[in-house]
Each structure stands twice: as C-alpha cells, then as structure tokens.
C-alpha cells in the first residue's frame, strides 16, 4: 500500500507519457507519408520543439549537431520530469543512467586532446545536457593532455570511471583503450547502483537491462572481431558482464567468431532466432533493438507499477526518438521509403 502511494505521482506521469510512444506499425505507417503530413500526427507526442524548428526551417535539414541535440533535449526533458518525482537512491539510479551522455562528452574531450584539436572545435561537438551536466567542461578543455583530463575527472562524479583510465593506458595515451575502459566501468557502476534496489525490483529490471547489455556486447564483439580484427581473447575482455542470454561462457565461444554467418549457430535460444537471417552488423543491432523496444513496451503494460516502469519508459522513449530521428533525417534527405525502413528497423 505504501509503495503504491509512494509511486502514485510517478505512475500517473508514466501513464500519461506512455501515450507518446508509437508501436512499430504506427512508425511503419509514417514512413510512407511525406514529412509535412508526418509532423501534425506527432503533435501530442512531446515533440513540439522539433516540429516547430523543422516547420520554421521549411523542412530543410538542420545542421547535424542541432538535430541530435533537439532529440536529446526531448529525452532529457522526460528524464527530468521522472527524476523530479524521485528521491534518494532511486533518483541516483536515473541520474546515473542519463550520465551516459556525459560519458560521450568525456570521450569527445579525450579524442580532442589526443588529436590536439582546438578548444572551440571540441566544445562545438559536446552534447549540451543542461541541468544534468556535471562535468567542468571549461576546466577539462583547458587541460594540457589526456593525463591531466583523467586527473581532473577524479574530482568529479566520474572519479570511479576515470580511475580506470589507468596508469599503463595513460602512459601509452591510447584513447581506444581508455574509452573501452570507461564503457566497462560505466556498466560496472550501473550494476552497483542497481544493487540497492529490492530483489523484486532487480529481478523485474534485469531482463530489460540484460537485453541492453547483450545488445551492447554483441555489437561490440562483432565490431572488435570482424571490423577491428582484435584477437578473440582481447575482444572478450573488452565486453561487460550482466547480459541476459550472453553469459561469460557464451561470450567466450562467440569471441572465436571469424565470419558473421557463424554467429547464428553459436547463439543460445531466443537471441539466436532474433538475429536469424541478418546480413550485417547493423541489421543485428536493429533486430536486437526491436526486441528491447518490444520488451520495454510489454513492461509498460504490466499492471503492478514499479520503478522499472519508469526505466522501461525511458529506454523505450530513447530508442523511439532514435527511430524518429532516422525517419525525419531520411525524409529530409529524400531517401527512399525502403532505405528509411531499413534504417529504423521497421517495414513498409
């Protein structure tokens, strides 16, 4: 009873927000429409700012960064509303989840330092996070080199993550190694954050988070092995734990892969059937993404409300915004409906 009262406001908000989400059929139906007709149908989906900007620009493509930031700001606005209704560790978990975008900014700064790019150039590429921003961007941009950036990060909430851009990597100034270390440490930190949830909440959240980690792991693994040609052991090491279907044992086997078509026979159960017939890494990514969206959508339909509903909403909303972003961009670039459908993982 107490728990229900505790989440009453959040539950109402998620219920209202969920109406903004579209299913695959609805998205697919939009693909065949011209952009002028798509926008009015999305009016009550919390995309007013984007619609306004696109209408003002007479349906011309906005600069790449602007478009990305517009979509991100929609997600951040939703996240802000959810976080506002939470307190304590629940709030911390959601803030940590959103902190992924700051991790991206850290990587941009590190890459900028490595390539000795100017402060202004790097600054222009950073994602504005508004009130979620925790990084002292100015100070980091003023740092002389990567080592100084990592040292400065130790005074921020990213200290634990930065510490793992450890000494040996730092000395070699290998940005790729630092970035993979940051990713790994981020997910380790996320698992630690979730440990404070009740067993029931953890078990509700695990299938969704596990799917996200599976997707991340599988895509990285395929890239490491097939695109960067890293050794099996190295590829395996760079992955993170906590997946749903892909446990350590499976990942060890998968790391031996040499061609994409070997993948299907090696994957267990459902995840194998999900990526059957995929001909590219991108297609694998889209199929797994589709599964995550479907799972998040099912979670939102569950009758007993819990914190995981809010998490499922955020995941669903983020993936959906990516799809809409691809749809808008495709339309503005006058790509064919088939190409757009492929890009968003839908069908006409």
């Amino acid at each position: 009873m107490l728990k229900i009262a505790h989440y009453a406001y959040l539950q109402t908000m998620i219920m209202i927000f969920s109406k903004r989400l579209l299913n695959y059929a609805e998205i697919s139906a939009l693909i065949q429409q011209p952009i002028e007709k798509i926008l009015p149908t999305l009016k009550d989906k919390g995309l007013d700012n984007i619609i306004q900007k696109l209408t003002q620009s007479h349906f011309k493509l906005l600069p790449a960064g602007n478009m990305d930031n517009l979509f991100l700001s929609v997600l951040l606005e939703d996240a802000r509303s959810i976080i506002r209704s939470l307190s304590g560790y629940e709030r911390d978990i959601f803030i940590y989840w959103i902190r992924r975008f700051e991790l991206k900014n850290i990587k941009t700064i590190l890459r900028g330092k490595s390539l000795q790019r100017s402060k202004e150039e790097v600054l222009a590429e950073l994602t504005p996070l508004g009130s979620f921003a925790m990084l002292p961007v100015d100070v980091l941009l003023n740092a002389d080199n990567i080592s100084e950036v990592l040292t400065l990060l130790e005074k921020t909430p990213f200290a634990a993550i930065a510490r793992y851009g450890s000494k040996s990597i730092e000395q070699k100034q290998d940005v790729f190694a630092i970035e993979t270390a940051l990713n790994r440490q981020y997910f380790t930190g996320l698992n630690e954050q979730l440990r404070v949830l009740s067993d029931k909440e953890q078990s509700l959240l695990q299938p969704l988070l596990g799917r996200i980690i599976d997707q991340t792991n599988l895509i990285w693994l395929l890239r490491y092995r097939l695109s960067y040609h890293l050794s099996p052991s190295h590829s395996y090491f760079l992955l993170v734990s906590g997946g749903l279907y892909l446990n350590s044992k499976v990942l060890v086997q998968l790391s031996q892969i040499k061609k994409l078509d070997q993948l299907y026979s090696m994957l267990p159960g459902k995840i194998g059937s999900l990526i059957k017939d995929c001909e590219s890494i991108h297609q694998v990514e889209l199929n797994l993404e589709k599964d995550i969206i479907e799972y998040a959508a099912n979670m939102l339909k569950e009758s007993a409300f819990s914190l995981t509903h809010a998490f499922a909403y955020l995941v669903f909303r983020e993936k959906q915004l990516l799809q809409l972003h691809a749809l808008f961009k495709g339309k503005l670039l006058h790509l064919s409906d088939d190409e757009i459908a492929f890009a968003i993982g839908g069908s006409i």
């Binding site: 450890s166 190295h234 090491f237 760079l238 992955l239 734990s241 350590s248």
Partner: protein, 635 residues
C-alpha cells in the same frame, strides 16, 4: 536601509569614448557598486559588438596563473597596488611569461611525480619482497627466460581478474593471484609461448608488468638491502626537489603576485568587453547599481577620466524585475542568518526579504526546543571562541545561546537539572499536552503569517489572480483558517455543516483555478487539478503537524535529562560526575546540532516553500581583488 526589501536599484547606462572604457571598467570595479551581469543591450543604439577576444586572453592567462599559484602555494593579496589599465598587449605579455613559468613549474611537477612514482614502485617492491623473504633461494630462478613457456608477473585492477582469467583461458594461458591488495592484485600469468598474442589484451587490462627487476635476481636478504639503498637515494632526491620547489617559489613569487594584480585589473574589462556595444569611438556599458551609490560612481569616473562620461540611471521596468539583482544591506550581526536564507535561495528584487523574520523565528524556536540556562550559556561562551576564528558566525551562536538561556529560565532547567532553578512559567515534562498545543498554535500562527507574506509577494509581482485564487493566496488562507476553525469546533464536539462548507468553497475555487491554469487533455487537466487540490489539504495539515516537533524536542530535552540522571544514579560518586559531565556534553553537542537542523528544516520546508520563490539574484558588484579572479559569467 530597507528592512524587508532589497535596496532600491538603478539600471545604469554609461556612454564614453572607446579609449576610456578600460579605465572606466577598473573604476567601476574599484567602486564596488556596479554589477554588469544580466544587463541587456539594445543593439539599435550602438550596433557593433566589442568582441570577446580580450576575455578569451584573460581566461587563458588566468588558467595558467591559477595552475602556477596553486602549485607554488602563492596566496594573492586582497587589494591591487595601483589603479591602472591593462591593455591587450600587456595581457598577452603576462600570458606569455606565465606560459614560460608554467613550463618550468610543470617540468618540476613532472619530476616530482616521477620521483613519487619511483618511490611508490619501490614500496611495491618492498611489499612484494615480503612474499619472498622467507625463501632461501636466489630469486633469479623465478624469472628465467624459458624456451617454450611465457611467464609474466604484474599488477592488474582487482575488478578485472575474473574477466581477464577467462580471456587468457581462450589463449591457453593460466592466471594466478599471489598477492591481493585493496584495489589491485599481483598476478602470475603463464602459458605456452606464442608470438606475443596476449600483449594487446594485457594493455587493455591495465596490466603493469613487474618484469622482476635486477634487485630480485639475488637472495631476498641482498635484494632487501639494495632496495633500502635505492629508497634512501630517492628520498634524498625528493628532499632536494622540495628545496628546489622553495627556490622556485621565492624566484617567481613577486612575478605571480604582480600577474595577479594585472589580472585583477584586467578582469573588469574582460567582463565588460564581451558585453559592451560600440559605434565608432562611442561605447556603452550597462549594469546595475544601488540608487544611493549612483552619484559616487559618477564622481569616481569624473575624477579618473578626463573625457566626458554620460551616465543614464533609471528605475527597472516591471518586466525587468525578474533580472534585477537584490542588494540586501543588512547589519553585520544578521549576516549568518542571511547566509542561511540565501542557502535556500536569493529573494527576488521585489520580494519580501525574509531574513528578519527568519532570524526571529529561528531564534525563538531554537530556544523553545533547547531551553536550558547552562547549555545556552555554553553556546554563548562558544560564540566568544567562534568570534576569534569565524567572526562572521559569532552572532548566530550568541543569539541562539541567549534564546536557549531565556527559555531555560522559563522552564527552570540548568545543565539538565530541573529542580535547582524555579521555572518562571512551566516545565515541559510536567505539562506535555500544553506544550503540544502551544507548538500547534505557534505553527498555525507561523503558517498564517507566511501566507500573508506570500499574498503580499504575489501582489508586489502583479500576480493578482494567483494572490486571490491559489493555495498560497487569499483562497488558500481562507481554507486554512476554515480548517483551523473546524478542528477547534471538532475538539468542542460542535462541528457543523457550516464548518464543512467553509472548507469546501475555497477548495472548489482552488480546483477551478488550477483547471484554468493547466493545459493538456481534459482528463489530464482534471487529474492535475484534483491532485493539486488534494495536495493543498495534505500540505496544510502536515505543515501544521510538523510543528509538533517544537514541543517534542522540548520534551526530548527533559527526557534526556531524566535518562542522564538515572544513569548517573547507578554510578559511584566519581562516576556520577563523569556521567553528568559527559551526558551534558552529549546533549549540548548532539541534541543541540539536531535541534539546529530541525529548526532549519521547519523554516525551509514549512516556511520558505510556502511563500518564498527564492528565484532572485544577489547583487554581485565587480571587484578589484587578486583573490577573486574567476569570471563566473562571461558572455
């Protein structure tokens, strides 16, 4: 000086020759009464932006200066020596000199880090050697280069062990941990020698190879004495390095102080150059200043600038009130209380400044909750010590100490003894119900008063509808009065339908107002209005109940005293006094701190959140001080 509001502010526009702008910036900062933040510029009057190049150079120079002064531990002085301008060329010269100095310091810093790392790895070796010290063998036997076997010793982060073990397994290698520390582990990795296949993997795992050093190629005892010798050498180098650091400090101290002066003098122009507008030789600077200081600013500019400077000063327009800074000129003794108010948020320019109200209610409630002549006297005594170290906080302790003493006399409590001093009125423990009623009455008065202030604030900000209809307006106040009346009648068992009606009517008005205000679909608006109205009932009720803690803590204080004396009674005579003294200290420090926090909580959550929007900006004039060089707002 206005007691309940900000000082009257004026929006100042200064027009002058472009060449005079740097000096004018310095003078404005020296006056200490000019705040250029949140000033707006009408581009049509003077169309050209002055540019932000100077500001950028300033920021870069400041960044270097901060690094150096921090590294060399040089404390800048409070005031600059002489009023003068720092032009772009001079600033660039300072920057280039600071770059040179930082190069030297940075090299020195790197050397220090190198030496510290050497020492750390040596200490690592010592701890590593601990694990071999009992072995009576030549350690070189452990590091032979085998023909078919690849053996490596090293350190990895603890969290990587499991994954690295699995990853190495793929390559047919075996990993074993032989020393585990807090965050890292010493490991031996062994496998069949291949073409260095695992090197990239080990790099990713932050593997720090312990290619067993030369010192380990002997018997542990010999290794130990060699390491001792090395440690001695490194420590000597570190002490030489420290001496060199003091030489560097002496060598650059004056230059850094002078650069600090230059930066302090450059800062005003760095702030203003990015904002000011220009047309030809004419330049415009805008900002805020207290009405009473406008003529002072004019006089100072006239004194230092030969060419004419035109000053336009006008009252802020109503639409500018939100960005007009609040200048709260309060007596020195009120400053600690003001700091606590600002900690919640700065009052808006037209808003009621609650610092007086906060001070009186805080002091009153603290005394009520922690009334004890002895403890109060200790807090007053404490304020004497605090005055020496943190003079700005002394008045806070003095005020709450005196209040505690006053209520101590009323309750008849001194150092937890309730029967030494005859109480002037009542003892909380003997009249608990009366205390609870008084606390509720205090809470009700507190909330009514705050609602009136809230109505005043809304009217001042021309929010007429809100002042009448919202939960913090007249309707909200009427509802609360009706609620209090109903509770009173209920306690007399004379609750009537009139009571019910008096509560329902304001609630309906608030519901309709909320409905009109909200947007979205009808269902959404209904839900929002319903929740908001429901929240008003809960909030008023819970806010009032919250004040029970005032009585609860007064009772708690007496209850702790009883517990203390019960405990003391079980001890012998020496123990008795020890318990009394330690117990009183415990009450003074722990309960005193808890009461201070609880009162603050009451003020913030039951008080400020009801009427205080706290969305104002404090008046922050530019200053000429090498101690305050950071620009927080540079457009």
């Amino acid at each position: 000086m206005s007691l309940f509001h900000s000082e009257t502010m004026r929006y100042i526009s200064l027009f002058m020759r472009f060449d005079d702008a740097p000096m004018a910036s310095v003078i404005l900062a020296e006056s200490g009464f000019f705040d250029p933040s949140r000033a707006s510029y009408a581009d049509e009057r003077l169309p050209d932006r002055q540019g932000i190049a100077y500001g950028r150079i300033f920021n870069n120079t400041l960044s270097q200066w901060e690094k150096i002064s921090h590294y060399l531990a040089i404390e800048p002085v409070k005031k600059v020596n002489k009023l003068m301008t720092v032009n772009k060329h001079r600033l660039l010269t300072v920057e280039s000199r600071l770059n040179e100095i930082w190069k030297i310091c940075s090299e020195h810093k790197e050397n220090k880090r190198f030496l510290e790392e050497q020492l750390n790895s040596l200490m690592h070796l010592f701890s590593l050697l601990n694990h071999f010290k009992d072995l009576d063998i030549d350690l070189s036997m452990l590091q032979q280069d085998f023909k078919f076997l690849d053996v490596r010793l090293g350190i990895i982060p603890l969290s990587y062990i499991s994954r690295l073990k699995d990853a190495l397994g793929i390559e047919g290698y075996y990993l074993s941990v032989y020393v585990q520390e807090k965050d890292s582990a010493h490991v031996i990795i062994a496998g069949i020698k291949k073409n260095n296949a695992i090197q990239a993997l080990l790099d990713s795992a932050s593997f720090q190879s312990l290619d067993v050093p030369g010192e380990f190629h002997q018997h542990p005892k010999i290794v130990c004495s060699t390491l001792d010798e090395k440690k001695k050498n490194i420590l000597e180098k570190i002490s030489i390095h420290e001496f060199e650091w003091s030489l560097l400090q002496q060598r650059f101290k004056q230059e850094i102080m002078d650069s600090g002066d230059s930066l302090a003098l450059a800062k005003p122009y760095a702030i203003l150059s990015g904002k000011m507008l220009r047309k030809g030789q004419l330049i415009e600077i805008n900002g805020w200043a207290p009405l009473s200081k406008v003529s002072l600013i004019g006089d100072m500019l006239d004194k230092h600038i030969v060419n004419p400077v035109i000053i336009e000063a006008r009252a802020p327009e109503p639409e500018e009130h939100a960005k007009t800074p609040s200048y709260l000129l309060r007596p020195q003794w009120l400053q600690p209380f003001l700091k606590l108010v600002i900690n919640y948020g700065a009052p808006g320019y037209r808003e009621f400044d609650p610092s007086w109200f906060f001070t009186l209610s805080y002091v009153l409630m603290f005394g009520l909750m922690f009334g004890d002549v002895g403890h109060g006297a200790c807090i007053v005594g404490m304020s004497w010590f605090i005055n020496k170290k943190w003079p700005e906080y002394a008045s806070f302790f003095m005020a709450i100490g005196l209040s505690s003493m006053l209520f101590g006399f009323i309750y008849g409590s001194v150092f937890s003894y309730e029967h030494i001093l005859p109480g002037l009125w009542l003892s909380p423990m003997e009249h608990p119900m009366l205390m609870l009623k008084l606390a509720l009455l205090l809470g009700a008065c507190f909330i009514v008063l705050l609602n009136i202030i809230s109505i005043y604030n809304q009217l001042k900000n021309s929010l007429l509808k809100a002042a009448i209809f919202n939960s913090r307006g007249i309707t909200g106040l009427l509802f609360y009065m009706a609620l209090l009346w109903s509770i009173f009648e209920l306690s007399r068992e004379q609750f009537s339908s009139l009571n019910l009606l008096s509560m329902i009517i304001p609630l309906i008005v608030m519901f309709i107002y909320q409905w009109m205000k909200s947007s979205g679909s009808s269902a959404e608006r209904f839900l929002v209005s319903l929740f908001e109205t429901y929240d008003v009932i809960i909030a008023y009720f819970s806010n009032t109940i919250s004040f029970l803690r005032v009585a609860a803590f007064a009772l708690n204080h007496s209850a702790l005293a009883i517990a203390l004396f019960t405990l003391a009674a079980t001890a012998n005579e020496a123990g008795h006094w020890a318990v009394i003294i330690i117990g009183n200290l415990f009450i003074l420090l722990l309960e005193g701190a808890i009461v201070a926090i609880q009162v603050l909580r009451l003020e913030y959550y039951e008080g400020f959140s009801r009427f205080f929007t706290a969305d104002g900006y404090l008046f922050k004039p530019m200053q000429l001080s090498p101690q305050k060089l950071k620009i927080t707002e540079l457009n």
